[in-house]
Symmetry: none
Subunit: 248 residues, 2 copies
């Protein structure tokens, strides 16, 4: 392995995850810690990354958005890791927005080969870091609150899509009322996304369970997978064991 190649790989990791651990790189590149440290030192000298105890950070991750403030990040990472196995090479995937989905994207395998449709610009930017992933951003009116595109134009385009899997973050989930929301437009959007997709996965941190909002998107039965940070056997999930819904 040439030194420059290692440097490139390190930079790729950094751009992908905004951070690298020395120990991870030792495994990944199969060289001694000293070599990794020297690599990081050199890249740092070239102002390409920010070296810290234990690894290094991206110099410019403020460009997209600051993820140190992501709420319940640990839980979201657990959810992301559980979701990965659902995603396989060759699939066509439709995603919504939100920090949970972004965490998921950051955990995707490096060489995933898939097509992603998304209504979230930030998700698109994250996805673009994967060389073999095709990203299609669905355009339309841009919502200032939820940072996704919405409105008739988006719905129309969604109608033309036939995805294998739809990944949704959640505002609220309830055993009886299913997936619910507060905003009429977003509600329409989610309905359309679900029907444009063969299967669907709802990513939901546990504190959003057992909440029900004004507008119903769909019943639990119409969701394929529910992914939380809890074990499927957890008592909090007891009421969610319904037909057709697989808990992860």
């Amino acid at each position: 392995m040439l030194k420059k190649e290692r440097h490139d790989i390190v930079m790729r990791q950094i751009n992908l995850h905004n951070r690298v651990l020395t120990s991870d790189l030792v495994q990944l590149l199969d060289v001694s810690e000293d070599t990794i440290r020297r690599d990081l030192q050199e890249l740092s000298d070239q102002n390409l990354l920010y070296k810290v105890h234990g690894g290094a950070l991206s110099k410019s991750y403020h460009s997209t958005f600051d993820d140190s403030t992501v709420y319940a990040k640990e839980a979201k990472i657990i959810i992301a890791k559980k979701t990965i196995p659902l995603i396989k090479d060759g699939m066509v995937i439709l995603t919504g927005g939100g920090t949970t989905i972004i965490e998921l994207v950051k955990q995707l395998p490096e060489n995933l080969q898939a097509t992603f449709f998304t209504i979230s610009p930030l998700v698109a930017v994250e996805l673009a870091k994967y060389p073999k992933v095709e990203v299609i951003l669905i355009g339309g009116l841009f919502s200032k609150n939820s940072q996704i595109t919405y409105g008739g134009h988006v719905i129309n385009q969604l109608a033309e899509i036939n995805a294998d899997l739809c990944l949704l973050g959640t505002s609220a989930l309830h055993p009886k009322d299913g997936l619910t929301d507060t905003d009429w437009e977003i509600n329409q959007l989610k309905k359309r996304m679900l029907s444009s997709s063969r299967k669907s996965a709802v990513l939901c941190i546990s504190e959003k369970l057992n909440i029900s909002l004004r507008l119903k998107v769909t019943a639990l039965e119409n969701i394929s997978y529910l992914i939380t940070e809890l074990s499927p056997a957890d008592v909090k999930l007891e009421e969610y064991h319904v037909n057709g819904l697989k808990l992860l």
Copy 2:
């Protein structure tokens, strides 16, 4: 074995694998290390590959991660400030992507009331911070390099838009050749953007002046405003005083 033959073989290996090791080439070509080194040196002098300790890398593969810390930021802020007066309440504006445009967006007046169409997710996210601005993100294939949407779908949507002003960042500008570019798709895109808009402003840091790339987007005459960080009276801009083009 002729030298030229060796060079060809080396280049084929490079294009195939993106890398070659000196030691591999010694075996493959059955010559001394010194000869291989001289070969690589010569090919490197001709800018055909990137020489490193231990071998060489493909020039295209060798990713240029550099200046993620926005390059020539000062100049870009000056340009942004000069551009602001062109933007008035009620206008419909079409923008491209790039760091110059993002700087511009950051300098917009807080209470601007306008409609923006953009092909850049990052610009959309920035624009969303202005409460009275309506943002429409034009969707389509997402380009990993330039971080904008492109392709037929984008062109089609642009065709339906009638904007007052089109704001473009620049890859290269030349007094004779006008606005030029290297990528065919991006080229088409810019052409379409210009014709979907009544007026157009090109934002261009001075070091990109007098450079001409392979593909022509449009002549200087078809641009309404050229905005650089220089004074309009600067000698470097002498050749840009043409009919219909206003320097700022």
